[in-house]
Symmetry: C2
Subunit: 150 residues, 2 copies
């Protein structure tokens, strides 16, 4: 415990949690009707309003191709609409529908509940600590990468 903590050991611990945590959150949200991936998209649309897929890809840190696919599904389920952009005939504007907004709300409730279960075991000070550490990592990540971060 008080041994020297190598980056590799830290990474090991992180990666072990990684998989489990993602699955737990995704499962909880899927049960509520929206997978984590879909919710991520809808959250952005809710926060920033309608936008084209390229912008969405930038915000999410996804490849454009991945956005196409996710939107395909969301459109099929009528949670978003894809309309032409009058100013640029290449681009399609994605917008939340009313059902999309409803679904998002339900999913976010489930999400919060799951987050409480997972991160509620830490006290507020510990959570602040954790977030500070993660942000430090994120900041120094942004250097050599795609730079989409947030």
């Amino acid at each position: 415990m008080s041994e020297v903590m190598s980056p590799v050991e830290a990474g090991q611990t992180y990666l072990e949690l990684h998989h489990q945590l993602h699955r737990i959150v995704d499962q909880a949200m899927s049960s509520a009707g929206l997978s984590l991936a879909r919710a991520k998209v809808l959250m952005r649309l809710d926060a920033h309003g309608p936008m084209n897929q390229a912008t969405l890809a930038g915000l999410l840190g996804f490849a454009p191709r991945s956005v196409t696919e996710t939107i395909d599904g969301l459109e099929r389920d009528e949670l978003v609409t894809r309309t032409e952009d009058p100013h640029d005939r290449r681009s399609r504007i994605i917008a939340l529908t009313a059902s999309g907004r409803d679904a998002l709300q339900v999913a976010m409730t489930a999400r919060s509940k799951t987050m409480d279960e997972i991160f509620g075991v830490l006290d507020p000070t510990e959570r602040a600590q954790l977030v500070a550490l993660l942000k430090t990592i994120r900041e120094n990540l942004a250097q050599g990468d795609t730079g989409c971060g947030n």
Copy 2:
């Protein structure tokens, strides 16, 4: 910063990093010849010796079906072998080959380098803190779930 840190906010930060971090590590390792997923399997085999797929699934926290698929690939590339279990005709024993061991070594080097880049920005005390927090989360996770954790 000194605001109250809610579980949801902490989770938000965690999930944002999640995707990026996974991709960075996976890409680095893939460039070195072994994807993260494949390396995970090979690491377990290296650490625990030959075993059947169910055991492997338990150790990894994967669904058995996922192990079958990953092993298919590894076997195709001759990094592992699948042999009959003389004591149980349902089961197949997975074992590392020499090439598998070599590939793993190369991949682990790449992995370490990437971990250094990511977690090296924290000092040892911070890393210890991070690991402690993650372990706290993991411990309390094990209650309601598959219980494969490590």
